[in-house]
């Protein structure tokens, strides 16, 4: 029986993967060909989705993007033995976009059946946990410190130091909270892992629990991810049955359980203290720090809050050692980062690589320029609070410090490409409007500043007293940057000021016309 793999990741479903799978099933039945259709996560080559792979003696041969109308001709061409067809892409791992990557965290994503614990184990899953149990809590924390892993949620705080603080904190109950709010536009790495390799996240949380002495875990998932939610519910239940979660994890005597909590469409709830308020059932108002969550977190107890990718990076670090991981990357940005290409780009998708690629390599080489075929004009890196970069800064390496030096941030790794039809005054306006819409309202610079900022940019766009209003926006941005309690108000000056600084002509359009 031939086995074909078709993704059931939301990105693939959004472009018809279910319909293609159903068409294959009925065509195979009609032709009386025995066919085993296996649903996997996505490899992350989204412009080729739905991408199917056929298992052959030479490896998995990929075809894509497949439409329902292609199913008959694909079967006619003998794809079940890897036959030639205009959609044939060759052995999946040899596709340049995939071959150039360093897949550590995403090693299994798109390959395994997300909910099969047997598949997970057969592809190296739980090896990290076994090594962690042998190392013991202090050994795990030391390994993570040495690896140089920094939080992948945006702030880039060293994960090992956070764990060490929580481990040393006193508390009757400690918690591991996984931040799966993934609110940043242009990002989807968390979603891909949760949908494509959920046991990896669970394993990472278990190791974190052992390391800091926490027995309870929460995953705070955004409500915009209904498919990830279904998979996580099933994966947690399967992990309990397989003893990956429970009173004695893998027979070790360590107790660890996970609960899933679904958010309700508030961007600010991705900020860790707002997230904790929300988990406790209140409005997601940001808390002032200190106290740090590691000392005084969920229900007042020591709590580690980590992003999905931070936690999902842990098993391979523990398994292969800190040095192995630390050897990838540049400067103080160690290891690999899943870069997520989106927007107007020819090859949108997930590219995991060591830090240090330049923005130009990412956008032009890997991304292949724009989807529209027009020139690339601006690239927003790091979500809605990230700066817009012009081509002139394309030599900036993908590295926390290098982006900060240009008044930007790599954030959660989203790279959104715009062609030359973009109106940067409109993008700056949107950034302020978004901040006004999502502000928790706790501090004045953000609550009032964002509303004033949006109004002022609206006036500039109408051509009213442009020079004066631009100065007002800059003043507001300074007040927000230095006076806001959290990075929502504190970082919105990045997209706004970068748009003004790098694309000044767009703010004088009306005046010029």
């Amino acid at each position: 029986m031939t086995r074909i793999y078709i993704p059931c990741d939301s990105g693939a479903l959004a472009v018809g993967a279910d319909e293609v799978a159903a068409a294959f099933e009925s065509a195979a039945r009609r032709r009386q060909i025995p066919l085993d259709i296996v649903r996997t996560g996505s490899r992350g080559l989204y412009w080729l989705e739905p991408m199917l792979e056929v298992e052959t003696a030479k490896g998995r041969i990929a075809y894509g993007p497949v439409a329902i109308a292609d199913v008959e001709s694909l079967l006619d061409s003998g794809i079940l033995s890897g036959g030639v067809h205009r959609l044939r892409l060759g052995v999946a791992e040899e596709i340049p976009f995939l071959k150039r990557q360093t897949r550590l965290t995403f090693a299994r994503c798109g390959i395994v059946q997300p909910l099969s614990i047997e598949d997970y184990r057969a592809h190296g899953g739980t090896a990290g946990l076994r090594r962690a149990l042998a190392m013991g809590p202090a050994g795990i924390v030391e390994e993570i410190v040495q690896s140089g892993l920094r939080g992948r949620g945006g702030a880039g705080f060293p994960t090992g130091i956070k764990w060490k603080t929580a481990r040393e904190a006193e508390g009757a109950q400690k918690y591991i909270v996984c931040n799966a709010d993934e609110g940043d536009s242009g990002t989807y790495a968390d979603r891909m892992i949760m949908e494509g390799d959920p046991f990896l996240l669970i394993e990472g949380m278990v190791i974190a629990g052992i390391a800091v002495g926490a027995t309870r875990g929460y995953i705070y998932l955004r409500s915009e991810y209904p498919h990830a939610r279904r998979i996580l519910v099933a994966a947690i239940a399967a992990a309990q049955r397989a003893n990956l979660l429970g009173k004695s994890v893998a027979g070790s005597g360590f107790d660890f359980g996970i609960e899933l909590c679904v958010g309700a469409g508030a961007y600010v709830c991705g900020e860790e203290t707002s997230l904790l308020e929300s988990l406790e059932g209140r409005r997601g108002m940001v808390r002032a720090k200190p106290p740090l969550p590691a000392h005084h977190g969920l229900f007042g107890m020591p709590t580690v809050v980590n992003n999905v990718i931070s936690l999902a990076s842990v098993p391979s670090i523990v398994e292969r050692g800190a040095t192995f991981y630390r050897d990838f990357g540049m400067g103080r940005s160690r290891g690999t980062m899943p870069i997520q290409l989106g927007g107007n780009v020819r090859h949108p998708g997930l590219f995991e690589a060591g830090f240090g690629l330049t923005l130009g390599e990412i956008v032009d080489d890997i991304g292949g320029g724009t989807a529209s075929g027009r020139p690339v004009r601006a690239v927003q890196v790091g979500g809605p609070l990230g700066a817009y970069f012009p081509r002139a800064l394309f030599d900036t390496p993908f590295d926390y410090e290098a982006f900060a030096a240009h008044d930007g941030m790599i954030g959660h790794g989203g790279v959104v490409v715009f062609d030359d039809t973009v109106d940067m005054a409109r993008q700056a306006h949107f950034a302020m409007e978004f901040c006004a819409l999502e502000s928790c309202g706790k501090c004045t610079p953000c609550r009032i500043g964002a509303v004033r900022g949006a109004e002022t940019i609206a006036r500039i766009r109408k051509g009213e007293r442009i020079a004066e209003n631009l100065m007002l926006v800059e003043d507001l941005c300074n007040t927000m940057k230095y006076g806001s309690l959290c990075a929502l108000g504190g970082a919105v000056p990045y997209p706004v000021m970068s748009a003004i600084r790098h694309f000044p002509e767009d703010f004088r359009r009306v005046a010029a016309e």
Binding site: S10, G11, L13, A14, V15, G44, Y46, W47, E49, E182, G183, D184, S185, G186, T187, Y188, D190, R191, S223, E224, Y225, P226, H227, C261, V262, G263, A264, G265, A266, Y267, S278, L279, E280, G281, R282, R283, G284, Q340, L341, G342, G343, N344, P348, G349, L350, A371, Q380, P384, G414, V416, V417, F418, D419, V422, Q427, F430, F434, E438, C440
Partner: protein, 155 residues
């Protein structure tokens, strides 16, 4: 499909989730799943069950964009308005959706078929522009396909 609000059913839903540690969000989600919204009438019942004030319950509901106070149309279309989708013509799509449904964002079409809501990223930025129709992901949308989808939902 959602059901019409009754106090008894409301209490049943609340009680089924009351035992959870920090039950507020789970209760609100369960109510919205059952009734399509969190009706005003539910607020005193939630306050009682959780032993908090009505004002607090109201404060929580109003903080989160997800919760509605009125039932939506037969279908809910959440169209992404965020940057990656903007870069791929999301604004044109948004205008087209409003025109096709004769609504503004946040409203339900006059025939009661479709409620149009904005959403800020669905994690489908590599298949932009994108939307969710009753929880089903839709990507690489263009005006024509979106209008067909809306027509299909209206039937």
């Amino acid at each position: 499909m959602t059901e019409p609000w009754t106090k008894d059913r409301g209490l049943e839903v609340i009680r089924a989730h009351q035992h959870i540690e920090a039950a507020t969000l789970p209760i609100l989600h369960a109510l919205q799943d059952a009734f399509g919204c969190v009706p005003e009438e539910a607020i005193p019942l939630i306050a009682d069950a959780l032993n908090i004030s009505r004002a607090e319950v109201h404060g929580v509901i109003s903080f989160y964009h997800e919760f509605r106070s009125k039932p939506p149309g037969r279908h809910v279309l959440k169209l992404c308005r965020a940057e990656a989708c903007q870069a791929m013509g999301g604004d044109i799509l948004a205008t087209a959706a409003e025109a096709k449904l004769s609504v503004h964002f946040g409203e339900t079409s006059p025939d009661g078929a479709v409620t149009l809501e904005p959403v800020y990223c669905l994690g489908l930025c590599a298949c932009a522009p994108s939307a969710l129709l009753d929880g089903k992901p839709l990507g690489r949308l263009d005006r024509e396909r979106l209008e067909r989808i809306i027509e299909g939902a209206a039937r």
